[in-house]
């Protein structure tokens, strides 16, 4: 046994940037955040924005099986063979952080079935503010919160808010109706995150998810450079 050697001939996992045949694998971006913050709607918007430019696939992690995957199928944002649902046994954060095996399998199966892929979006099941993705599963992560969940969430922080590569504050169109102060949310997020980027968006506006899509494009450019 060579437990002290990290390199072996056929790497089993995970964060390795290449497929077994030597090709560079798809960039994997995770989307996490609380229940109802608009993760699935953001995924749908990203698929519509990016599907002409890139070969895309989506893995959803539902708490109750296939609800999110079925929303994406109904919306027809991608052909059905490019969308896979992972079942998480009542623990969505376990499936994206502590035991990522089912998600890695889903990503590999998508690459085998419809690859080569440029980008795989991995959407977590709605969870709490501490749920983050393992670096063994994704290369970058987006944390999605919304103004209706309370404008104190950026101030409360937590690993998702403070460490995600991109923080999205969603449903800004609702701010006046729920008494949320967008300026305060942006300032608190800036204080919690330093240089890490924040996007405030409303998917009902003209611009939709275009800022997030631009961020993903930049990530893809860096990945393939």
């Amino acid at each position: 046994m060579h437990l002290d050697h990290s390199h072996h001939t056929t790497p089993a996992p995970s964060a390795d940037a290449h497929r077994p045949d030597g090709r560079r694998r798809a960039l994997r971006i995770g989307l996490g955040g609380p229940v109802g913050s608009g993760k699935t709607a953001t995924v749908a918007a990203l698929c519509r924005a990016l599907r002409e430019e890139f070969s895309l696939a989506v893995v959803t992690n539902d708490i109750y099986t296939r609800e999110d995957a079925e929303f994406l199928l109904r919306e027809a944002v991608l052909p059905p063979e490019r969308i896979t649902a992972v079942e998480t046994g009542a623990c969505p954060h376990t499936a994206i952080r502590d035991d990522i095996s089912a998600n890695l399998e889903a990503v590999e199966d998508l690459e085998d079935a419809v690859g080569p892929l440029d980008l795989v979006l991995v959407e977590s099941g709605g969870d709490n503010l501490t749920a983050t993705f393992s670096k063994g599963l994704v290369d970058a992560q987006i944390f999605v919160i919304d103004v209706a969940g309370g404008d104190d969430i950026p101030r409360k922080g937590g690993p998702g808010v403070t460490t995600a590569d991109l923080l999205v504050v969603n449903k800004t169109d609702l701010a006046p109706y729920v008494g949320s102060d967008l300026g305060r949310m942006a300032a608190d997020a800036k204080a919690a995150r330093g240089e890490l980027p924040v996007v405030l968006q409303s998917l009902r506006s003209e611009t939709g998810a275009s800022e997030v899509a631009a961020w993903v494009r930049a990530r893809l450019a860096a990945w393939t450079a």
């Binding site: 437990l3 996992p13 099986t65 079942e87 009542a90 623990c91 089912a102």
Partner: protein, 224 residues
Amino acid sequence: MSRAALLVLADGRFPAGGHAHSGGAEAAVRAGRITSAADLADFCRGRLQTTGLVAAALAAAAALGHDPAELDAAADARTPSPALRVAARKLGRQLMRAARATWPTAELDTVARAFPKGAHQPVVLGLTARAAGLGPEDAAHCAAYESVSGPATATVRLLGLDPFDATGVLARLAPELDGVVERAVSAARLAAVDGVDALPAASAPLLEIGAEAHAAWPVRLFAS
């Protein structure tokens, strides 16, 4: 053998996908067959003496070096439910990934190539034990324990059962579990001479039927 390696492999947090499976507990809870710690004890005892025994024997045989392909076919023959075969292969594939990262060996690489979509989980468990320098008793203990620990933790989530009661159920099953392991290892040693037909084929029809029904539910918490 290394006792510490056994603890690593048997740890419920070993990242091999088991957390998403209830071992038939979700179907049994929905059918009203598990409503209390006493029911859980009965369910686990039944599972241990059937699925648990078969899994332990397959794992022990794999740990002894029996041909994995032959054991995989033997596992298929002992798993009537297509849904359970799918679940067992999924879990086998996930365990294989964790095993190759944790205890990399040429043997694991070879079996992974032969079964790209996964071999039955107990077979992979036995091979993993082998790669970790463990013996057939260790492999059988892991398999038998997993056959009851999965349903116990799932029931805590599904029913809000007191976690101390659920753990107490597992503790009280320990002597029986040791007995199952003993029978499993004897059968595995016999199979080395007489072939896989010497392995136990105890079946639990309600688990098989429940798994088929469960796989067709539109809404469920666990994958199996």
